[in-house]
C-alpha cells in the first residue's frame, strides 16, 4: 500500500506543506462505500506515484480534521495543492471521473 496514514500530527507536513498535490480519502471503518472504494484509491496511488501523494484520513480517529474541512459525507476525496483544497469529490464516483478531476489539478 502506497497510501499514507494521515493524522493530526503529520497533516501539516504531509498535506499542507507537500511539494506535490495530495489526494486525501476521508473514510471510516463503518462506511461500506468507503471500504469498497479503497481499491480504486490504491490503483490511483500506484499509477500516479511521484506525481501525486495519496493519503487516508479516518474521520473516526481524527474528527477535528474532518470538522475543519466541513466533511459531512463520506467517502469524500479532496485534492490539495499548495496547502489549499483545489477540488473535492463527494461519494463514490467512477474511476474515470476521479482521474479527470485529478488531471485538471495536476
Amino acid at each position: 500500500m502506497v497510501e499514507l496514514h494521515l493524522t493530526q500530527s503529520n497533516w501539516e507536513d504531509e498535506v499542507l506543506n507537500s511539494d506535490i498535490p495530495v489526494l486525501v480519502d476521508f473514510w471510516a471503518p463503518w462506511c461500506g462505500p468507503c471500504r469498497m472504494v479503497a481499491p480504486v484509491v490504491s490503483e490511483i496511488a500506484e499509477e500516479y506515484q511521484g506525481k501525486l501523494k495519496v493519503g487516508k484520513l479516518n474521520t473516526d480517529e481524527e474528527p477535528e480534521i474532518a470538522v475543519r474541512y466541513g466533511i459531512m459525507s463520506i467517502p469524500t476525496l479532496m485534492i490539495f495543492k499548495n496547502g489549499e483544497v483545489a477540488d473535492q469529490i463527494i461519494g463514490a464516483v467512477p474511476k474515470e471521473y476521479l482521474i479527470e478531476k485529478l488531471e485538471q489539478v495536476l
Binding site: C31, G32, C34, M36, G70, S73
Partner: protein
C-alpha cells in the same frame, strides 16, 4: 473473447460472476463505481437468510466478492456506455470507447436513488443532504435530521439515525406508509421519530451547511420550516438502463423485460436484479436472478457458440 461480461458489481452481478466462473466460463465483471451496489448503504441486512443475527451490507458484499473471486472471476472498474449485438457475439463498450468482445452479456446495473429535484438539494449534497445514512449518520450525532420517504428504506434508515440524531422527522407525502408492518411498528414506538405526513419538501435551506427544510402541506398548501442539520432522501429508485434503451426492450418505467431464463429480447443478453421487471427487489432475489442468468448464459453458449 469473454464467455460472459457482466455489467454491474452489486449482489446480482457478483452472484452471476460466481456461478459463471464456477461453471468454468471466462467471466468479467465491469463495475463503474464500487463493488457491492446499493446494499452497501444498509447498516444491517436482517432478511438475508443464513445470518440470523443480521449482517451489515458492507460485510455481506465483502463476502460475495471474495466468493466470486475464489472461482476466478475477473473484475475491473469500468463504466459501460453501450452494447452492440453482432449476432453470434456482442460488444461491450467501455466509457473510454474501448470495445470488449463477448459471447454473452448479463446486465446487472441495478438502480440509483431518486433525487427530490428541489432547490438546495444539489448545492447541499455532502453538506447536510445525504442518500446514505450508514455513511453519514455519524456526522449528525446529537443533531436533528429529517428523512424523506415512506418505504422500507426510509424507515430502516430513520430507525438507524434515531440511534445517533437528537430527533428524526419523517417527511412523507401521503398519510400512510408503504413500509412493511414490522418496520412501521418499530418506527411508531420510537420516541425520537416524528412523522410529518401529507407534506412534501419545497426547499432545502442553509448557508454553508443545511440548517432547515421548507415543507408544504399537500392538503392545505401551508408552508412551514423544520430546523434540521441533515436531510436523508429515500424516495425510490430508477433503473440504470439509459445506456440500453435503444437496444433492449424496457417497460414504461425503464425496467428490463426478461423471461424466466432472465433472457432479454436479444438472444445471449440477460438481465438480473433490481434492473429487471420483478415484484420484489432485494439482495436475495437479485442474487437468485444472477444465478439463473449465469446458468442460462452457459446453456446458451453450449447451444449456440
Amino acid at each position: 473473447m469473454y464467455d460472459v461480461i457482466i455489467i454491474g458489481g452489486g449482489p446480482a452481478g457478483l452472484t452471476a460472476g460466481l456461478y459463471a466462473a464456477r461453471g468454468g466460463l471466462k467471466t468479467l465483471i465491469c463495475e463503474e463505481k464500487v463493488f457491492g451496489g446499493q446494499i452497501l448503504m444498509s447498516y444491517e441486512v436482517d432478511n438475508y437468510p443464513g445470518f440470523p443475527k443480521g449482517i451489515s451490507g458492507m460485510d455481506l458484499m465483502d463476502n460475495f466478492m471474495k466468493q466470486a473471486e475464489k472461482f476466478g472471476v475477473e473484475t475491473n472498474y469500468e463504466g459501460i456506455k453501450g452494447i452492440e449485438d453482432k449476432g453470434k457475439t456482442k460488444d461491450v463498450i467501455l466509457s473510454n470507447g474501448t470495445k470488449l468482445n463477448t459471447k454473452t452479456i448479463i446486465v446487472a446495473a441495478g438502480a440509483s436513488a431518486n433525487k427530490l429535484n428541489c432547490p438546495g438539494e444539489k448545492k447541499f449534497t455532502g453538506k447536510g443532504v445525504s442518500y446514505c445514512a450508514t455513511c453519514d449518520g455519524a456526522f449528525f450525532r446529537g443533531k436533528p435530521v429529517a428523512v424523506v420517504g415512506g418505504g422500507d428504506s426510509a424507515l430502516e434508515e430513520a430507525l438507524y439515525l434515531a440511534n445517533l440524531a437528537s430527533k428524526v422527522y419523517i417527511i412523507h407525502r401521503r398519510e400512510q406508509l408503504r413500509a412493511v408492518k414490522v418496520l412501521q411498528e418499530r418506527a411508531f414506538s420510537n420516541n425520537k421519530l416524528e412523522f410529518v405526513f401529507n407534506h412534501v419538501v419545497k426547499e432545502i435551506q442553509g448557508d454553508k451547511f443545511v440548517n432547515g427544510v421548507l415543507v408544504e402541506n399537500v392538503k392545505t398548501g401551508e408552508l412551514s420550516r423544520l430546523d434540521v442539520d441533515g436531510i436523508f432522501i429515500y424516495v425510490g429508485i430508477t433503473p440504470n438502463t439509459k445506456f440500453l434503451e435503444d437496444i433492449i426492450e424496457l417497460n414504461e418505467d425503464g425496467y428490463i423485460i426478461v423471461n424466466e431464463n432472465m433472457e432479454t429480447n436479444i438472444p445471449g443478453i440477460f438481465a438480473a436484479g433490481d434492473i429487471r421487471v420483478t415484484p420484489l427487489r432485494q439482495v436475495l432475489t437479485a442474487a437468485a436472478d444472477g444465478a439463473i442468468a449465469a446458468s442460462c448464459a452457459q446453456k446458451y453458449i453450449e447451444r449456440n457458440c
